[in-house]
Protein backbone atom coordinates (compact mmCIF):
# COMPACT_ATOMS: atom_id res chain seq x y z
CA UNK A 1 0.00 0.00 0.00
CA UNK A 2 1.19 3.51 -0.69
CA UNK A 3 0.12 6.97 0.29
CA UNK A 4 -1.12 7.48 -3.26
CA UNK A 5 -3.12 4.26 -3.12
CA UNK A 6 -4.91 5.44 -0.02
CA UNK A 7 -5.63 8.85 -1.46
CA UNK A 8 -6.90 7.34 -4.67
CA UNK A 9 -9.18 5.03 -2.76
CA UNK A 10 -10.46 7.89 -0.65
CA UNK A 11 -11.14 9.99 -3.72
CA UNK A 12 -13.26 7.11 -5.00
CA UNK A 13 -14.97 6.93 -1.61
CA UNK A 14 -15.75 10.63 -1.93
CA UNK A 15 -17.68 9.74 -5.08
CA UNK A 16 -19.68 7.11 -3.14
CA UNK A 17 -17.63 4.01 -4.02
CA UNK A 18 -18.42 1.53 -1.24
CA UNK A 19 -15.92 -1.08 -2.52
CA UNK A 20 -13.10 1.46 -2.16
CA UNK A 21 -14.35 2.22 1.32
CA UNK A 22 -14.28 -1.46 2.21
CA UNK A 23 -10.68 -1.65 0.98
CA UNK A 24 -9.72 1.24 3.25
CA UNK A 25 -11.60 -0.35 6.11
CA UNK A 26 -9.75 -3.65 5.60
CA UNK A 27 -6.45 -1.76 5.56
CA UNK A 28 -6.91 0.39 8.62
CA UNK A 29 -9.33 -1.38 10.97
CA UNK A 30 -6.48 -3.14 12.76
CA UNK A 31 -4.29 -0.08 13.46
CA UNK A 32 -7.39 1.85 14.55
CA UNK A 33 -8.45 -0.97 16.87
CA UNK A 34 -4.93 -1.03 18.27
CA UNK A 35 -5.05 2.75 18.78
CA UNK A 36 -8.39 2.78 20.59
CA UNK A 37 -7.66 -0.32 22.62
CA UNK A 38 -4.44 1.13 23.96
CA UNK A 39 -6.41 4.20 25.00
CA UNK A 40 -9.37 2.52 26.71
CA UNK A 41 -8.31 -1.13 27.28
CA UNK A 42 -11.85 -2.21 26.55
CA UNK A 43 -12.10 -4.36 23.46
CA UNK A 44 -15.83 -3.88 22.85
CA UNK A 45 -15.62 -0.15 23.29
CA UNK A 46 -12.57 -0.02 21.03
CA UNK A 47 -14.41 -1.99 18.33
CA UNK A 48 -17.32 0.43 18.56
CA UNK A 49 -15.01 3.39 18.26
CA UNK A 50 -13.47 1.89 15.13
CA UNK A 51 -16.95 1.52 13.67
CA UNK A 52 -17.84 5.09 14.58
CA UNK A 53 -14.64 6.46 13.09
CA UNK A 54 -15.20 4.78 9.74
CA UNK A 55 -18.82 5.83 9.81
CA UNK A 56 -17.75 9.44 10.36
CA UNK A 57 -15.27 9.09 7.54
CA UNK A 58 -18.05 7.90 5.25
CA UNK A 59 -20.49 10.59 6.30
CA UNK A 60 -17.92 13.33 5.78
CA UNK A 61 -16.48 11.83 2.61
CA UNK A 62 -17.54 14.80 0.47
CA UNK A 63 -15.32 17.07 2.54
CA UNK A 64 -12.17 15.06 1.83
CA UNK A 65 -9.37 16.87 -0.01
CA UNK A 66 -6.40 14.74 -1.15
CA UNK A 67 -3.74 17.11 0.14
CA UNK A 68 -2.02 15.22 2.98
CA UNK A 69 -1.55 11.61 4.00
CA UNK A 70 -4.77 9.66 4.32
CA UNK A 71 -3.64 8.10 7.61
CA UNK A 72 -3.26 11.47 9.29
CA UNK A 73 -6.74 12.41 8.06
CA UNK A 74 -8.18 9.14 9.41
CA UNK A 75 -6.40 9.36 12.76
CA UNK A 76 -7.49 12.97 13.16
CA UNK A 77 -11.07 11.79 12.94
CA UNK A 78 -10.26 8.96 15.36
CA UNK A 79 -8.56 11.28 17.83
CA UNK A 80 -11.44 13.78 17.79
CA UNK A 81 -13.95 10.99 18.26
CA UNK A 82 -11.94 9.56 21.13
CA UNK A 83 -11.81 12.93 22.91
CA UNK A 84 -15.60 13.39 22.50
CA UNK A 85 -16.46 9.89 23.62
CA UNK A 86 -14.07 9.99 26.51
CA UNK A 87 -15.74 13.13 27.79
CA UNK A 88 -19.21 11.62 27.39
CA UNK A 89 -18.14 8.44 29.11
CA UNK A 90 -16.69 10.39 32.01
CA UNK A 91 -19.98 12.28 32.42
CA UNK A 92 -22.14 9.18 32.28
CA UNK A 93 -22.96 7.57 35.59
CA UNK A 94 -22.48 3.93 35.02
CA UNK A 95 -21.92 1.43 37.78
CA UNK A 96 -19.61 -0.57 35.57
CA UNK A 97 -17.99 2.15 33.56
CA UNK A 98 -14.30 2.16 32.86
CA UNK A 99 -13.79 4.85 35.46
CA UNK A 100 -15.65 3.00 38.16
CA UNK A 101 -13.79 -0.24 37.75
CA UNK A 102 -11.10 -0.95 40.26
CA UNK A 103 -7.67 -2.09 39.31
CA UNK A 104 -7.42 -5.82 39.03
CA UNK A 105 -11.13 -6.52 39.21
CA UNK A 106 -12.25 -9.25 36.92
CA UNK A 107 -14.54 -7.02 34.91
CA UNK A 108 -13.23 -8.07 31.56
CA UNK A 109 -11.79 -4.69 30.66
CA UNK A 110 -8.22 -5.77 30.63
CA UNK A 111 -8.63 -9.37 29.72
CA UNK A 112 -7.58 -8.72 26.17
CA UNK A 113 -3.94 -8.20 27.00
CA UNK A 114 -3.07 -11.81 27.24
CA UNK A 115 -1.06 -14.02 24.96
CA UNK A 116 -2.79 -17.22 23.91
CA UNK A 117 -1.19 -20.61 24.00
CA UNK A 118 0.84 -20.26 27.19
CA UNK A 119 0.70 -22.32 30.34
CA UNK A 120 -1.11 -21.21 33.49
CA UNK A 121 1.98 -19.54 34.95
CA UNK A 122 2.72 -17.77 31.68
CA UNK A 123 -0.90 -16.65 31.39
CA UNK A 124 -0.88 -15.33 34.94
CA UNK A 125 2.27 -13.34 34.21
CA UNK A 126 0.81 -12.02 30.96
CA UNK A 127 -2.34 -11.00 32.77
CA UNK A 128 -0.41 -9.22 35.48
CA UNK A 129 1.77 -7.51 32.90
CA UNK A 130 -1.24 -6.52 30.84
CA UNK A 131 -2.84 -5.02 33.93
CA UNK A 132 0.30 -3.10 34.73
CA UNK A 133 0.74 -1.74 31.23
CA UNK A 134 -2.93 -0.73 31.08
CA UNK A 135 -2.71 0.96 34.47
CA UNK A 136 0.53 2.67 33.54
CA UNK A 137 -0.77 4.13 30.27
CA UNK A 138 -3.99 5.20 31.97
CA UNK A 139 -1.92 7.04 34.53
CA UNK A 140 -0.44 9.27 31.82
CA UNK A 141 -2.07 12.60 31.10
CA UNK A 142 -4.25 12.63 27.99
CA UNK A 143 -1.69 14.69 26.06
CA UNK A 144 1.15 12.29 26.79
CA UNK A 145 -1.03 9.25 26.27
CA UNK A 146 -2.18 10.29 22.81
CA UNK A 147 1.36 10.94 21.65
CA UNK A 148 2.59 7.69 23.13
CA UNK A 149 -0.24 5.53 21.76
CA UNK A 150 -0.02 7.07 18.29
CA UNK A 151 3.71 6.41 18.41
CA UNK A 152 2.96 2.70 18.81
CA UNK A 153 1.15 2.53 15.46
CA UNK A 154 3.29 0.96 12.75
CA UNK A 155 4.60 3.51 10.30
CA UNK A 156 3.43 6.50 12.31
CA UNK A 157 6.18 9.14 12.22
CA UNK A 158 6.61 12.14 14.48
CA UNK A 159 5.54 14.44 11.66
CA UNK A 160 2.29 12.47 11.29
CA UNK A 161 1.62 12.57 15.03
CA UNK A 162 2.28 16.29 15.00
CA UNK A 163 -0.25 16.79 12.20
CA UNK A 164 -2.87 14.60 13.84
CA UNK A 165 -2.58 16.34 17.18
CA UNK A 166 -1.97 19.75 15.63
CA UNK A 167 1.19 20.38 17.63
CA UNK A 168 4.82 21.02 16.56
CA UNK A 169 7.12 18.05 15.96
CA UNK A 170 9.35 19.23 18.79
CA UNK A 171 6.41 18.98 21.18
CA UNK A 172 5.73 15.43 20.00
CA UNK A 173 9.34 14.55 20.72
CA UNK A 174 9.35 16.03 24.20
CA UNK A 175 5.94 14.54 25.10
CA UNK A 176 7.12 11.14 23.92
CA UNK A 177 10.22 11.42 26.09
CA UNK A 178 8.09 12.41 29.08
CA UNK A 179 5.65 9.57 28.48
CA UNK A 180 8.42 7.04 28.23
CA UNK A 181 10.09 8.31 31.36
CA UNK A 182 6.80 8.03 33.26
CA UNK A 183 6.13 4.55 31.92
CA UNK A 184 9.64 3.39 32.75
CA UNK A 185 9.00 4.48 36.32
CA UNK A 186 5.62 2.76 36.53
CA UNK A 187 6.86 -0.43 34.89
CA UNK A 188 10.28 -0.49 36.52
CA UNK A 189 9.95 -4.02 37.97
CA UNK A 190 9.38 -5.38 34.46
CA UNK A 191 12.32 -3.56 32.89
CA UNK A 192 15.18 -5.08 34.80
CA UNK A 193 17.70 -6.96 32.67
CA UNK A 194 16.93 -10.64 32.23
CA UNK A 195 13.14 -10.24 32.57
Amino acid sequence: MTVDDDRELMVRVRGGDLAAFEALYARYRRPLLHFFHRLCWDRSFAEDLVQDTFFRLWKGRRRYRPTGKFTTYLFQIAKNHWLNEREKKARRISPLSLEASGRGESNGLRDTVRAPGRGPVGRALDRELGEKIAAATEALSEKLRLVFVLGQIDGMRYADIAEILEIPVGTVKSRMAHAEKALRGLLAPYLTPGE
Binding site: L18, E22, Y25, A26, R29, R30, L33, H34, H37, R43, S44, A46, E47, D48, V50, Q51, F54, F55, W58, K59, R92, I93, S94, P95, L96, S97, S106, N107, G108, D111, T112, V113, R114, A115, P116, P120, R123, R127, L129, G130, I133, G151, Q152, R157, Y158, K173, S174, M176, A177, E180, K181, L183, R184, L187, Y190, L191, P193, E195
Partner: protein
Protein backbone atom coordinates in the same frame (compact mmCIF):
# COMPACT_ATOMS: atom_id res chain seq x y z
CA UNK B 1 31.32 15.39 11.42
CA UNK B 2 29.11 14.98 14.46
CA UNK B 3 27.55 18.44 14.66
CA UNK B 4 27.16 20.21 17.98
CA UNK B 5 27.79 18.04 21.03
CA UNK B 6 24.68 16.96 22.94
CA UNK B 7 23.82 17.39 26.59
CA UNK B 8 22.36 14.49 28.59
CA UNK B 9 18.95 16.17 28.50
CA UNK B 10 19.02 16.54 24.72
CA UNK B 11 20.27 13.03 24.34
CA UNK B 12 17.42 11.55 26.39
CA UNK B 13 14.83 13.59 24.54
CA UNK B 14 16.15 12.24 21.24
CA UNK B 15 16.65 8.60 22.21
CA UNK B 16 13.20 7.49 21.02
CA UNK B 17 13.47 9.50 17.82
CA UNK B 18 16.82 7.82 17.17
CA UNK B 19 15.39 4.37 17.87
CA UNK B 20 12.65 5.11 15.35
CA UNK B 21 15.18 6.35 12.78
CA UNK B 22 13.72 9.83 12.81
CA UNK B 23 16.83 11.86 13.62
CA UNK B 24 18.67 13.72 10.86
CA UNK B 25 22.11 12.17 10.26
CA UNK B 26 24.02 14.97 11.95
CA UNK B 27 21.90 14.72 15.12
CA UNK B 28 22.11 10.93 15.07
CA UNK B 29 25.91 11.15 14.97
CA UNK B 30 25.96 13.65 17.82
CA UNK B 31 23.73 11.35 19.85
CA UNK B 32 25.96 8.33 19.21
CA UNK B 33 29.01 10.37 20.21
CA UNK B 34 27.33 11.37 23.44
CA UNK B 35 26.26 7.80 24.21
CA UNK B 36 29.79 6.54 23.65
CA UNK B 37 31.00 8.85 26.38
CA UNK B 38 28.03 8.70 28.80
CA UNK B 39 27.22 5.45 30.67
CA UNK B 40 24.12 7.00 32.30
CA UNK B 41 22.53 7.80 28.94
CA UNK B 42 23.46 4.33 27.66
CA UNK B 43 21.55 2.81 30.58
CA UNK B 44 18.65 5.11 29.69
CA UNK B 45 18.70 3.80 26.13
CA UNK B 46 18.73 0.20 27.36
CA UNK B 47 15.68 0.89 29.53
CA UNK B 48 13.91 2.50 26.58
CA UNK B 49 14.62 -0.51 24.44
CA UNK B 50 13.31 -2.87 27.12
CA UNK B 51 10.16 -0.77 27.38
CA UNK B 52 9.67 -0.98 23.61
CA UNK B 53 10.20 -4.75 23.75
CA UNK B 54 7.73 -5.05 26.60
CA UNK B 55 5.07 -3.19 24.64
CA UNK B 56 5.75 -5.29 21.57
CA UNK B 57 5.14 -8.42 23.67
CA UNK B 58 1.46 -7.52 24.04
CA UNK B 59 -0.55 -9.66 21.66
CA UNK B 60 -2.12 -8.02 18.63
CA UNK B 61 -5.90 -7.83 18.72
CA UNK B 62 -7.78 -9.31 15.81
CA UNK B 63 -10.65 -7.15 14.64
CA UNK B 64 -14.06 -8.73 14.90
CA UNK B 65 -15.01 -10.48 11.64
CA UNK B 66 -18.45 -8.91 11.64
CA UNK B 67 -17.00 -5.40 11.57
CA UNK B 68 -17.56 -4.73 7.90
CA UNK B 69 -21.12 -6.19 7.79
CA UNK B 70 -22.01 -4.00 10.77
CA UNK B 71 -20.55 -0.92 9.18
CA UNK B 72 -22.14 -1.63 5.80
CA UNK B 73 -25.52 -2.11 7.50
CA UNK B 74 -25.13 1.18 9.34
CA UNK B 75 -24.31 2.95 6.11
CA UNK B 76 -27.32 1.33 4.46
CA UNK B 77 -29.57 2.53 7.30
CA UNK B 78 -28.32 6.06 6.80
CA UNK B 79 -28.72 5.93 3.05
CA UNK B 80 -32.34 7.21 3.03
CA UNK B 81 -31.07 10.39 4.67
CA UNK B 82 -28.52 10.86 1.93
CA UNK B 83 -31.14 10.19 -0.72
CA UNK B 84 -33.58 12.64 0.83
CA UNK B 85 -31.00 15.37 0.81
CA UNK B 86 -30.07 14.77 -2.79
CA UNK B 87 -33.74 14.62 -3.84
CA UNK B 88 -34.39 17.91 -2.18
CA UNK B 89 -31.34 19.48 -3.68
CA UNK B 90 -32.28 18.41 -7.19
CA UNK B 91 -35.89 19.40 -6.91
CA UNK B 92 -35.49 22.58 -4.95
CA UNK B 93 -35.57 24.83 -8.03
CA UNK B 94 -38.79 23.17 -9.24
CA UNK B 95 -42.12 24.62 -8.17
CA UNK B 96 -45.70 23.46 -7.80
CA UNK B 97 -47.07 19.96 -7.64
CA UNK B 98 -43.86 18.10 -8.47
CA UNK B 99 -42.04 19.63 -5.52
CA UNK B 100 -44.97 18.96 -3.22
CA UNK B 101 -44.96 15.30 -4.22
CA UNK B 102 -41.25 14.94 -3.51
CA UNK B 103 -41.66 16.61 -0.16
CA UNK B 104 -44.56 14.33 0.67
CA UNK B 105 -42.36 11.34 -0.04
CA UNK B 106 -39.70 12.86 2.15
CA UNK B 107 -42.08 13.30 5.04
CA UNK B 108 -43.40 9.78 4.73
CA UNK B 109 -39.97 8.19 4.86
CA UNK B 110 -39.17 6.55 8.18
CA UNK B 111 -36.87 8.48 10.47
CA UNK B 112 -33.22 7.67 9.96
CA UNK B 113 -32.41 7.35 13.63
CA UNK B 114 -33.72 4.37 15.63
CA UNK B 115 -36.32 4.91 18.35
CA UNK B 116 -35.02 5.52 21.86
CA UNK B 117 -34.19 2.46 23.94
CA UNK B 118 -37.26 1.12 25.67
CA UNK B 119 -38.34 -1.90 27.58
CA UNK B 120 -41.67 -3.60 27.32
CA UNK B 121 -42.31 -5.89 30.23
CA UNK B 122 -44.22 -8.99 29.33
CA UNK B 123 -44.27 -10.93 32.58
CA UNK B 124 -42.52 -11.28 35.89
CA UNK B 125 -41.24 -9.23 38.74
CA UNK B 126 -38.57 -6.89 37.44
CA UNK B 127 -36.80 -3.85 38.81
CA UNK B 128 -35.13 -1.13 36.80
CA UNK B 129 -32.56 0.94 38.65
CA UNK B 130 -33.81 -0.68 41.87
CA UNK B 131 -37.41 0.44 41.34
CA UNK B 132 -40.19 -2.07 40.65
CA UNK B 133 -41.63 -2.12 37.16
CA UNK B 134 -45.34 -2.78 36.77
CA UNK B 135 -46.32 -5.59 34.42
CA UNK B 136 -46.93 -4.20 30.96
CA UNK B 137 -45.07 -0.98 31.75
CA UNK B 138 -43.17 0.67 28.93
CA UNK B 139 -40.10 2.51 30.07
CA UNK B 140 -37.41 4.46 28.35
CA UNK B 141 -34.08 3.30 29.63
CA UNK B 142 -30.84 5.20 29.52
CA UNK B 143 -27.48 3.59 28.89
CA UNK B 144 -26.21 2.21 32.15
CA UNK B 145 -29.67 1.22 33.42
CA UNK B 146 -29.65 -1.88 35.58
CA UNK B 147 -32.36 -4.52 35.38
CA UNK B 148 -32.81 -7.15 38.05
CA UNK B 149 -35.32 -9.97 38.37
CA UNK B 150 -36.85 -10.85 41.70
CA UNK B 151 -38.64 -13.76 40.09
CA UNK B 152 -38.51 -15.11 36.59
CA UNK B 153 -39.13 -12.09 34.39
CA UNK B 154 -39.42 -11.40 30.73
CA UNK B 155 -38.48 -8.21 28.97
CA UNK B 156 -38.44 -7.04 25.39
CA UNK B 157 -35.91 -4.42 24.53
CA UNK B 158 -36.67 -2.13 21.61
CA UNK B 159 -33.89 0.03 20.31
CA UNK B 160 -33.53 -1.16 16.79
CA UNK B 161 -31.78 -4.02 18.51
CA UNK B 162 -34.39 -6.76 18.33
CA UNK B 163 -33.89 -8.43 21.67
CA UNK B 164 -36.06 -10.45 24.00
CA UNK B 165 -34.74 -11.50 27.40
CA UNK B 166 -35.88 -13.81 30.14
CA UNK B 167 -34.14 -13.19 33.42
CA UNK B 168 -33.95 -15.95 35.97
CA UNK B 169 -34.63 -15.05 39.58
CA UNK B 170 -31.63 -13.13 40.88
CA UNK B 171 -30.30 -12.19 37.45
CA UNK B 172 -28.85 -8.70 37.15
CA UNK B 173 -27.77 -6.96 33.99
CA UNK B 174 -26.80 -3.53 32.78
CA UNK B 175 -27.87 -2.13 29.42
CA UNK B 176 -24.72 -0.41 28.32
CA UNK B 177 -25.97 0.90 25.00
CA UNK B 178 -24.37 0.27 21.62
CA UNK B 179 -25.90 -3.19 21.61
CA UNK B 180 -24.01 -4.25 24.71
CA UNK B 181 -25.46 -5.91 27.78
CA UNK B 182 -23.35 -6.63 30.79
CA UNK B 183 -24.54 -9.65 32.73
CA UNK B 184 -23.53 -9.00 36.33
CA UNK B 185 -25.02 -12.12 37.89
CA UNK B 186 -27.46 -14.93 37.28
CA UNK B 187 -28.87 -16.48 34.17
CA UNK B 188 -30.70 -15.09 31.18
CA UNK B 189 -32.23 -16.53 28.09
CA UNK B 190 -31.77 -14.21 25.14
CA UNK B 191 -33.58 -14.32 21.84
CA UNK B 192 -31.78 -12.09 19.36
CA UNK B 193 -33.60 -11.58 16.11
CA UNK B 194 -31.33 -11.56 13.03
CA UNK B 195 -30.30 -8.15 11.83
CA UNK B 196 -27.27 -6.09 11.01
CA UNK B 197 -24.40 -6.19 13.43
CA UNK B 198 -23.66 -8.25 16.48
CA UNK B 199 -25.09 -7.81 19.93
CA UNK B 200 -22.66 -8.30 22.76
CA UNK B 201 -23.22 -9.86 26.14
CA UNK B 202 -20.37 -8.87 28.40
CA UNK B 203 -19.46 -11.41 31.05
CA UNK B 204 -17.46 -10.67 34.17
CA UNK B 205 -14.62 -11.78 31.95
CA UNK B 206 -14.90 -12.11 28.19
CA UNK B 207 -17.96 -11.52 26.05
CA UNK B 208 -20.41 -13.22 23.72
CA UNK B 209 -21.07 -11.95 20.21
CA UNK B 210 -24.52 -12.75 18.86
CA UNK B 211 -25.93 -11.91 15.46
CA UNK B 212 -29.23 -13.77 15.66
CA UNK B 213 -29.84 -16.74 17.84
CA UNK B 214 -31.32 -18.19 21.00
CA UNK B 215 -28.93 -18.67 23.83
CA UNK B 216 -28.54 -18.92 27.57
CA UNK B 217 -25.87 -16.88 29.29
CA UNK B 218 -25.06 -17.48 32.91
CA UNK B 219 -22.62 -15.62 35.15
CA UNK B 220 -21.64 -17.09 38.49
CA UNK B 221 -18.95 -16.10 40.92
CA UNK B 222 -16.32 -18.43 39.53
CA UNK B 223 -17.52 -19.39 36.08
CA UNK B 224 -19.76 -18.21 33.28
CA UNK B 225 -21.54 -20.41 30.81
CA UNK B 226 -22.90 -19.79 27.36
CA UNK B 227 -25.27 -22.31 25.78
CA UNK B 228 -26.45 -21.82 22.22
CA UNK B 229 -29.85 -23.36 21.61
CA UNK B 230 -30.45 -22.07 18.10
CA UNK B 231 -28.28 -20.27 15.56
CA UNK B 232 -24.66 -19.57 16.35
CA UNK B 233 -22.74 -17.26 18.64
CA UNK B 234 -19.09 -16.68 19.48
CA UNK B 235 -17.41 -16.34 22.84
CA UNK B 236 -14.51 -13.91 22.87
CA UNK B 237 -11.93 -14.01 25.59
CA UNK B 238 -8.87 -11.91 25.10
CA UNK B 239 -7.63 -12.50 21.61
CA UNK B 240 -9.47 -15.84 21.40
CA UNK B 241 -12.73 -16.05 19.51
CA UNK B 242 -14.55 -19.35 19.81
CA UNK B 243 -17.58 -19.95 17.55
CA UNK B 244 -20.30 -21.94 19.32
CA UNK B 245 -22.83 -23.80 17.18
CA UNK B 246 -26.38 -24.74 18.21
CA UNK B 247 -26.60 -27.39 20.91
CA UNK B 248 -23.15 -26.56 22.24
CA UNK B 249 -21.88 -24.51 25.10
CA UNK B 250 -18.73 -22.96 26.47
CA UNK B 251 -17.64 -22.53 30.07
CA UNK B 252 -15.48 -19.55 30.99
CA UNK B 253 -13.35 -19.96 34.08
CA UNK B 254 -13.54 -16.48 35.59
CA UNK B 255 -10.60 -17.01 37.89
CA UNK B 256 -8.20 -18.70 35.50
CA UNK B 257 -9.42 -16.86 32.41
CA UNK B 258 -9.74 -20.00 30.29
CA UNK B 259 -12.52 -21.29 28.04
CA UNK B 260 -13.71 -24.89 27.84
CA UNK B 261 -15.77 -26.14 24.96
CA UNK B 262 -17.74 -26.11 22.82
CA UNK B 263 -19.33 -29.16 24.43
CA UNK B 264 -22.87 -30.57 24.11
CA UNK B 265 -25.19 -28.65 26.41
CA UNK B 266 -27.72 -31.41 27.03
CA UNK B 267 -26.05 -32.50 30.29
CA UNK B 268 -26.34 -28.92 31.54
CA UNK B 269 -30.16 -29.35 31.56
CA UNK B 270 -30.45 -25.85 30.18
CA UNK B 271 -33.50 -26.81 28.16
CA UNK B 272 -35.31 -27.79 31.33
CA UNK B 273 -34.81 -24.30 32.64
CA UNK B 274 -36.04 -22.77 29.40
CA UNK B 275 -39.07 -24.86 28.73
CA UNK B 276 -40.16 -27.06 31.65
CA UNK B 277 -43.26 -26.21 33.66
CA UNK B 278 -43.27 -25.31 37.32
CA UNK B 279 -45.60 -27.19 39.69
CA UNK B 280 -47.13 -25.78 42.78
CA UNK B 281 -49.75 -26.98 45.17
CA UNK B 282 -52.08 -25.14 47.48
CA UNK B 283 -54.38 -26.77 49.96
CA UNK B 284 -57.00 -25.65 52.45
CA UNK B 285 -59.65 -27.57 54.30
CA UNK B 286 -61.94 -27.86 51.29
CA UNK B 287 -59.75 -28.22 48.23
CA UNK B 288 -56.34 -28.85 46.81
CA UNK B 289 -55.21 -26.91 43.77
CA UNK B 290 -52.38 -28.16 41.64
CA UNK B 291 -50.96 -25.60 39.24
CA UNK B 292 -48.75 -26.41 36.31
CA UNK B 293 -47.46 -23.09 35.03
CA UNK B 294 -45.44 -22.20 31.99
CA UNK B 295 -43.28 -19.52 33.50
CA UNK B 296 -40.66 -19.85 30.80
CA UNK B 297 -40.30 -18.34 27.37
CA UNK B 298 -41.13 -21.15 25.00
CA UNK B 299 -44.62 -22.59 24.45
CA UNK B 300 -45.07 -25.79 26.38
CA UNK B 301 -47.06 -28.88 25.49
CA UNK B 302 -48.32 -31.00 28.36
CA UNK B 303 -50.38 -34.11 28.56
CA UNK B 304 -53.70 -32.91 29.86
CA UNK B 305 -55.99 -34.39 32.44
CA UNK B 306 -58.92 -35.75 30.56
CA UNK B 307 -62.05 -33.89 31.64
CA UNK B 308 -64.24 -36.70 30.27
CA UNK B 309 -62.60 -39.12 32.63
CA UNK B 310 -61.90 -36.75 35.47
CA UNK B 311 -60.51 -39.24 37.91
CA UNK B 312 -57.16 -38.57 39.47
CA UNK B 313 -55.06 -40.30 41.99
CA UNK B 314 -53.76 -38.41 44.94
CA UNK B 315 -50.96 -39.81 47.04
CA UNK B 316 -51.32 -38.65 50.58
CA UNK B 317 -48.87 -39.00 53.42
CA UNK B 318 -50.85 -39.09 56.66
CA UNK B 319 -50.23 -39.81 60.31
CA UNK B 320 -50.30 -43.51 59.57
CA UNK B 321 -47.85 -43.33 56.71
CA UNK B 322 -48.54 -43.13 53.02
CA UNK B 323 -52.08 -44.10 52.11
CA UNK B 324 -52.90 -46.00 49.00
CA UNK B 325 -53.56 -43.68 46.08
CA UNK B 326 -56.99 -42.19 46.58
CA UNK B 327 -59.17 -41.73 43.57
CA UNK B 328 -60.44 -38.18 43.43
CA UNK B 329 -62.40 -36.07 41.02
CA UNK B 330 -61.10 -32.73 39.87
CA UNK B 331 -61.86 -29.82 37.66
CA UNK B 332 -59.41 -28.47 35.14
CA UNK B 333 -59.01 -24.76 34.40
CA UNK B 334 -56.63 -23.09 32.00
CA UNK B 335 -55.84 -19.53 32.92
CA UNK B 336 -56.62 -16.97 30.25
CA UNK B 337 -59.28 -17.24 27.59
CA UNK B 338 -57.80 -20.03 25.54
CA UNK B 339 -59.20 -23.51 25.32
CA UNK B 340 -56.94 -26.54 25.59
CA UNK B 341 -55.05 -27.31 22.40
CA UNK B 342 -56.01 -30.92 21.72
CA UNK B 343 -57.88 -33.97 22.95
CA UNK B 344 -54.98 -35.40 24.92
CA UNK B 345 -52.59 -32.52 25.36
CA UNK B 346 -52.60 -28.89 26.12
CA UNK B 347 -50.41 -26.11 24.81
CA UNK B 348 -49.49 -23.46 27.32
CA UNK B 349 -48.08 -20.18 26.11
CA UNK B 350 -45.59 -18.36 28.33
CA UNK B 351 -47.39 -16.96 31.34
CA UNK B 352 -50.30 -19.40 31.12
CA UNK B 353 -51.10 -21.97 33.75
CA UNK B 354 -53.04 -25.19 33.96
CA UNK B 355 -54.84 -25.82 37.23
CA UNK B 356 -56.52 -28.83 38.64
CA UNK B 357 -58.82 -28.33 41.60
CA UNK B 358 -59.73 -31.30 43.74
CA UNK B 359 -62.74 -31.06 45.98
CA UNK B 360 -61.79 -32.76 49.23
CA UNK B 361 -65.43 -33.26 50.16
CA UNK B 362 -65.52 -36.04 47.57
CA UNK B 363 -62.38 -37.76 48.79
CA UNK B 364 -63.76 -38.78 52.17
CA UNK B 365 -60.54 -38.51 54.14
CA UNK B 366 -60.83 -38.91 57.92
CA UNK B 367 -59.99 -35.82 60.06
CA UNK B 368 -56.28 -35.36 60.69
CA UNK B 369 -53.18 -33.55 59.51
CA UNK B 370 -51.73 -34.63 56.19
CA UNK B 371 -48.79 -33.71 54.10
CA UNK B 372 -49.70 -33.58 50.45
CA UNK B 373 -47.33 -33.50 47.52
CA UNK B 374 -48.51 -33.48 43.93
CA UNK B 375 -46.66 -35.47 41.34
CA UNK B 376 -47.27 -34.98 37.65
CA UNK B 377 -46.04 -37.86 35.56
CA UNK B 378 -47.25 -38.09 31.97
CA UNK B 379 -47.52 -41.61 30.59
CA UNK B 380 -48.96 -43.51 27.64
CA UNK B 381 -48.65 -42.46 24.00
CA UNK B 382 -47.47 -38.92 24.31
CA UNK B 383 -47.59 -36.53 21.37
CA UNK B 384 -44.20 -35.89 19.86
CA UNK B 385 -43.91 -32.37 21.20
CA UNK B 386 -45.16 -33.14 24.71
CA UNK B 387 -42.95 -32.44 27.68
CA UNK B 388 -41.85 -35.73 29.26
CA UNK B 389 -40.40 -34.92 32.63
CA UNK B 390 -41.72 -35.51 36.12
CA UNK B 391 -42.85 -32.64 38.30
CA UNK B 392 -43.04 -32.70 42.05
CA UNK B 393 -44.56 -29.88 44.01
CA UNK B 394 -43.31 -28.77 47.37
CA UNK B 395 -45.35 -30.54 50.09
CA UNK B 396 -48.13 -28.63 51.85
CA UNK B 397 -49.80 -29.38 55.15
CA UNK B 398 -53.50 -30.10 55.06
CA UNK B 399 -55.62 -30.15 58.21
CA UNK B 400 -59.06 -31.71 58.07
CA UNK B 401 -61.44 -31.50 61.01
Amino acid sequence: MTGNPMTCEECRENLEAARRGELPPSRASALEAHLAACPACRRERERNERLAALLRSLPELSPSPDGWPRLAARIAREAPGDRRRSLLRVTAPALGLATAAVLAVFLLLPPASPPPPAILLAAGDLTAGGLPVSPGARLTLRDGAELAARSLARAEIESGRRLELTLDRGARLVLEGRGRIRLAAGRILARVRPGPGAMRFLLPRGEVEVTGTLLVVEAGSRRARVAVLRGEAAVVLGSHRLPVPAGRGVTVDLEGGAMTGPVPVDPWRIRDWCSSPAASLRADSSRITLTLANDKVAPLTLLRFDPADADYFLRIEGPEGTLEPVKVQGRMVVSGAREPGGPAWIRLLPGEAYRLTIDLGRVGLPPGTYRVRAVYRPYGDLPEQAWRGVLRSEPVTLTLR
